[in-house]
């Protein structure tokens, strides 16, 4: 019985961990490659959920076609945000970027509240809801699919950055923008593509998780907070770190909630952050290791 409980907590923790990693990925990517601390990250996640609701409920698309459409739309949106907003503060240090994205997040929340209102929205899932048992462990098909899609997205983003010409251009631009542009890389486009990729990842996790929970206009703040916890745990800008940080947070929360109290579960992340900052301020995985 106790083993059953333990296994269920572990499963819950791993599922949540993958969700956390996925929702933090866009944040760490944009920070790692562009040095922009994106405070509008949670709002991109929220927009993914809301547009996910729009394409599945209003346009009547099935989940995966909807996901593809949301990816395209949010990539275009991210591209435009970079070309019209982020570009104006590029190269001026981190503070203008922070102020810009904070402003953007406030604008996005209120614009969404104005258009669709504060009601929670239901994103139609890929499959029917209902329990699925593996021995004593209960999960749902929807969660398994979300974990699968999440892992695929994480792997896909990794491959884009590691194996494609675009990825090489991104890394080159990040290491030395001047040299990259001398070598013929259009750094403006590379920055925009990076921001679009980060924005798309956030939006896709928003739609994916919106199909399990619900999408809502003011969810962004909490998502940003958790994503920052994950990213600080793993190391700002580190890809592997985001995955490790996500899993660590998910599993720690599951066990704390399971064996101590669920009412204070949000404390866990912040205690972890304080411990990491005290003993290993560069995060579990330092960025240097990732860059090499």
């Amino acid at each position: 019985m106790d083993l059953d409980l333990f296994l269920q907590f572990l499963t819950n923790g791993v599922v949540m961990g993958v969700f956390y990693a996925l929702s933090a990925l866009g944040l760490t990517l944009i920070f790692g490659l562009m040095r922009v601390v994106n405070f509008a990250h949670g709002e991109f996640y929220m927009l993914g959920g809301v547009t996910g609701w729009f394409v599945t409920s209003y346009l009547g698309l099935d989940f995966f076609s909807g996901l593809a459409l949301v990816a395209v739309a949010m990539a275009a949106f991210g591209w435009l945000v970079d070309r019209f907003l982020i570009e104006r503060v590029r190269g001026q240090g981190e503070e203008p970027g922070i102020l810009l994205t904070i402003g953007l997040s406030i604008f996005l929340v209120n614009a969404t509240l104005l258009v669709v209102g504060p009601a929670p929205m239901k994103v139609a899932g890929a499959v029917a809801e209902g329990p699925l048992f593996f021995g004593p462990i209960a999960v749902t098909k929807l969660r398994l699919i979300a974990v699968g899609v999440g892992i695929a997205l994480i792997a896909g983003a990794h491959l884009i950055i590691r194996k494609t010409r675009l990825g090489a251009a991104m890394r080159a631009t990040f290491q030395d923008p001047m040299a990259a542009s001398l070598a013929g890389i259009r750094t403006g486009n590379v920055y925009a593509a990076t921001f679009a990729l980060g924005c798309t990842l956030a939006a896709l996790s928003g739609m994916l998780l919106g199909s399990i929970y619900s999408a809502q206009a003011s969810v962004g703040g909490l998502i940003s907070l958790k994503s920052f916890v994950v990213v600080i745990l793993g190391g700002m800008g580190s890809f592997a770190g985001a995955i490790a940080g996500g899993l660590l947070l998910g599993i720690a929360e599951a066990f704390w909630g399971g064996y101590v109290a669920t009412g204070m579960v949000d404390v866990v992340g912040f205690v972890l952050v304080i411990l990491i900052l005290l003993f290993r301020p560069q995060g579990l995985f330092s960025i240097r290791a990732e860059r090499a």
């Binding site: 409980l5 504060p118 009601a119 909490l222 669920t262």
Partner: protein
Amino acid sequence: MKRLVLGSLLLAGVAAPLSAQAQDTIKIGMVEPLTGSVAYNGKSVVEGAKLAVEEMNAAGGILGKKIELVIEDGQCTPANSVNAVEKLVQKDKVAALVGAFCSSATAAIMPVAQKYKIPLVTGVSSQASLTEQGNPYFFRAAETDALMAKAFAKILANDLKLTKVAYIGVNDDWGRGGVEEFSRDLSALGAKSVLTEYFDHGTTDFFTLLTKLRAAKPDGVFVAAETQDGSILVKQIREMGLDAKVFGVGSWATADFINLTGSAAEGIHAAVPYASSMDAPRNQTFVKSYEAKYRIKPGKYGAAGYNALNITAQAIARAGNTDAEAIRAALYKTQYEAPNGVYRFTEKGQAYGFDAVLVRIEGGQPKVIASTPVDAPH
């Protein structure tokens, strides 16, 4: 002579808009959460309130003036709600206040209302201690958890044949209050309490909590949660493959809750002060006009906003002016015929006399299975 009358009429017509700058409306201030995890419920309160104002203004307003509703976002937090009240009193010079949804936020604005001597009516905040603070400007046109527990514990225990009950509540004064009151009354009736857990506002994943719930093997689960948290929680109870009977308090008897929760909502019980399916003639009129305006049936909070505004405005009308003491005196003499019964106030400002219902969700509709008037607490 005729020309003179016509002339003075014309003059009056020209003069009226000029002289009527500040005093042509009676302002009522409203503080509700319009952002955050209960924003959706706060919006329902505002919708109900706007409908009430519209109806009264269509009937000529009060004291010969139109009512103007000034709405501020209190975000359900004490600090923001206090700021909102300061603004409503200082800048808008409202005659009365309605708000502030969450009990903690209401508790924070009560002393502010008292400081400025402005009557404050809440249609929502249900924590029992609010009316025990001796604040003469505070009136609660809502049920308390204790009153709900007292009204329905017996019916629930008998109808659902509860022997082992688990309690889950949102981690705030309302959730904790609901859990405490119901566990006390149900335990007294012989239903054993096997688990008590709280979760934070805006929580989306309850699998860990539900794993503990499954291990406790309850036959009934009491839940105190609002639309967003509650719908996800109830859905996940079924996703975990649990078939315990679910009952609770919160805005569950609404179309949105049922839509969000889907088939998992079937068969759950909710103790609510209002359901659109209550069969009083006044309620049918209310539901019809609410549905015509918002294309959705009113829920607990739509009705709460509607009632709170009507009670406040009618008190101002009876007071004959916007003097705070006169309004306060008039509020004590309230005998408001609501869609759900008749509201009166005790000398502590607690409403009683209105009906509360126990509903079961059947075929996507809240079906009233028991109805009882809420007695005055003693």
